[in-house]
């Protein structure tokens, strides 16, 4: 099993390398920070611009291939992802923001998965009853709402709650109150108030997919022969579902995790932008607006790594629940 996982990991490393390379060339050939420099007051001469960029390792006179080689040697030998046009070091900027993003997503991903799968099982066991209809309709409704608009609506709702109570319970933007003084408990409550709305928004939008998938696969299995056999041997319907059908039906859901983690990550871009969390997502969009080649490439690499982690986790989960993979 570990050999299998190691082999997959090696493949994903190669893929990360390829996507990052492709991303670098795309960024180098489309993003031109020199143009933004022209808007500065006083307007720098082209020589000044070229010179300042050369010092930061962003020489616009070199060909994309030469710049790529320089950038790659820096990354491989010194783990140096380069600098932004304004002189900031990508490595230093990245560290903080990855931590902020991870804090935002981790709770949401876990909640999304647990709630989605649990509701999927719940609705499959009560197919076509009132609860099933309500929950499944909700999941289909979420499917036709774009994530940022759903987040925005949740934000509006939170603002309305704040206004109707007349007190600020939820913070709809930002990561913490600047300059807040107090003991650990005050800090904790403040953090919770900032966390609640984004986490709630991402979770509300996220679990629909899992619910529909889990419900579908479980229903496919509930009528299968092996479940009928189990019931014929005297198990109750719920026992048959939890002991036999559930495990089999979780396999495709586990495999789909790999493809939904990048989706949550992409949804995270929107969430960070809308709730004004200074994480990787909002930073990367701002960096691209500022024509920052190195930052764009670094965030692209980060996105690929997230996907690879999701894929490996999915492989791992599959080996846990699927005996056929374990034997191979």
């Amino acid at each position: 099993m570990f050999r299998y996982l190691a082999k997959r990991a090696a493949t994903y490393l190669l893929m990360i390398f390829l996507t990052t390379t492709a991303g670098y060339f795309l960024a180098v050939s489309t993003l031109q920070p020199a143009l933004l420099e022209q808007e500065r007051m006083p307007r720098p001469t082209p020589e000044q611009v070229t010179n300042s960029f050369r010092l930061k390792g962003l020489d616009p006179t070199l060909s994309p291939w030469e710049r790529y080689l320089d950038w790659l040697t820096a990354v491989v030998t010194r783990w140096d992802w380069g600098r932004s046009p304004n002189g900031a070091f990508i490595n230093a900027e990245f560290g903080d923001r990855v931590w902020i993003s991870t804090r935002l997503f981790l709770a949401s991903i876990v909640l999304t998965l647990i709630i989605g799968v649990a509701l999927g099982v719940y609705t499959a066991a009560r197919q076509y009853k009132f609860q099933d209809r309500v929950i499944t309709s909700y999941s289909y409704l979420v499917y036709i709402v774009p994530a940022p608009i759903a987040y925005f609506l949740v934000q509006l709702g939170a603002i309305n709650v704040n206004e109707s109570i007349g007190e600020r319970i939820f913070f709809v933007t930002g990561i913490s109150t600047p300059g807040l003084e107090g003991n650990a408990w005050v800090q904790f409550v403040d953090m919770l108030a900032h966390y609640t709305v984004p986490t709630l928004a991402i979770t509300l939008v996220g679990w629909g997919t899992y619910q529909i998938a889990q419900r579908q696969y479980l229903l496919d299995n509930v009528n299968a022969d092996f479940v009928r056999t189990a019931r014929a041997k005297g198990l109750t319907r719920n026992q048959a579902i939890t002991r036999h059908a559930l495990r089999v039906s979780f396999i495709p859901v586990a495999q789909s995790i790999a493809f939904t983690i990048p989706a949550i990550f992409a949804g995270g871009f929107f969430a960070e932008k809308i709730f004004a969390w200074p994480g990787v997502g909002s930073w990367s969009i701002d960096a691209i607006a500022l024509q920052d080649v190195n930052a764009a490439t670094a965030t692209l690499a980060y996105g690929s790594v997230i996907f690879a982690i999701g894929a490996i986790l999915a492989d791992f989960a599959t080996t846990l629940v699927d005996p056929r993979v374990r034997v191979q």
């Binding site: 893929m15 795309l26 489309t30 076509y128 036709i144 709402v145 992409a266 809308i274 690929s304």
Partner: protein
């Protein structure tokens, strides 16, 4: 065929285009099953109405999307301006018509072409197998790994690139969405056609000396046809949603081009002051994606190859009776 045309030309034309008259005999069954599902028909009607409105709606209003009405800036809906005006004093109805057209255009082009790419790519993988399959699968997974959002942002971000000056932003968005939207379907088609290649009727055809290309066309394509149709509506929905999402946070479609996403995004900063600017485009977007979702359900029932329905086309009812019996 002429008889069918008389019933519903749009649906038949769509089927003929998708199915390429391989399963022409099946089309009347499919059409009948589809028409039986009232929700799906309602969805189709709403979608067609919106499409027609987005093309001819401009003729019903005296205003166009460039004329500024200096006496009505940021006004709520009135007799003169059906849906009110924007902060710049432009008639919102004219903007809506234009935006809906761009959104539908993006959805249809991306939905149709990405399924086409996926079908060709997936079938090629399954057909050749071996090394070709491995390499193509690798390329596909590498593409899935690329965060599409960043690529969209890079490709549509401001700057002085020749490509961006020559192409309007909606075309650029279509191209980028196309590149990143076909992989999931291609994977699915690959696995489906690989399992079909093992089936007896394909083996029989092979032993009879039928050329492989004709096997793909005669036996593989009809069997994955239902999936392709479903993925078209799903792809259209996905593309419309992606456009709205990207334009909402300011990447994707750029002003002066208009789309539903741009309209919704522009209105978010002042929802409390100008609520109609936000809710009207949002409702149109819901109608658009909702009608597609309603159609999707009916199409799934209509194209379900395992459905033996002559009576009800709803697979749901079958489950229900089966469950009642088991109790």
């Amino acid at each position: 065929m002429t008889n069918l045309n008389a019933i519903d030309p749009a649906a038949v034309a769509e089927e003929a285009r998708i199915e390429n008259d391989v399963v022409i005999a099946k089309s009347s069954i499919i059409l009948r099953r589809f028409l039986r599902n009232k929700t799906a028909v309602a969805g189709l009607v709403i979608f067609l109405a919106l499409t027609v409105l987005s093309f001819v709606g401009g003729f019903f209003s005296a205003w166009d999307k460039e004329t500024i009405d200096p006496f009505n800036i940021g006004m709520p809906p009135s007799a003169e301006h059906l849906l009110g005006t924007s902060q710049a004093g432009i008639d919102l109805y004219a903007l809506m018509v234009e935006g809906t057209r761009i959104s539908i255009l993006i959805g249809l082009v991306v939905g149709l072409v990405s399924v086409l790419i996926a079908a060709v790519y997936g079938c090629t993988m399954a057909y050749f197998g071996g090394k070709v399959d491995k390499v193509m699968l690798f390329v596909l997974e590498a593409l899935i790994m690329m965060p599409a959002l960043l690529v969209v942002a890079v490709a549509t971000s401001g700057g002085g690139n020749g490509l961006r000056e020559n192409l309007p932003s909606w075309l650029l968005l279509i191209i980028v969405l196309l590149v990143f939207s076909w992989m999931g379907t291609a994977r699915l088609i690959r696995s489906l056609s690989m399992s079909l290649m093992q089936r007896d009727f394909v083996k029989a055809a092979q032993y009879m000396g039928v050329p492989a290309r004709r096997i793909v066309w005669r036996h593989l394509v009809p069997n994955i046809g239902s999936l392709l149709v479903l993925d078209i509506t799903r792809g259209v929905t996905g593309a419309i949603l992606a456009e709205v999402a990207f334009s909402f946070i300011g990447i994707g479609i750029k002003v002066p081009d208009v789309s539903l996403g741009v309209l919704i995004g522009q209105a978010t900063s002042q929802v409390a002051t100008f609520p109609w600017m936000f809710w009207v485009p949002l409702m149109v977007m819901f109608l658009l994606t909702g009608s597609l979702a309603m159609m999707n359900d009916g199409l799934r029932d209509a194209f379900d190859p395992s459905s033996s329905s002559v009576g009800s086309a709803k697979t749901g009812k079958k489950y229900k009776t089966a469950k009642k019996k088991s109790k």
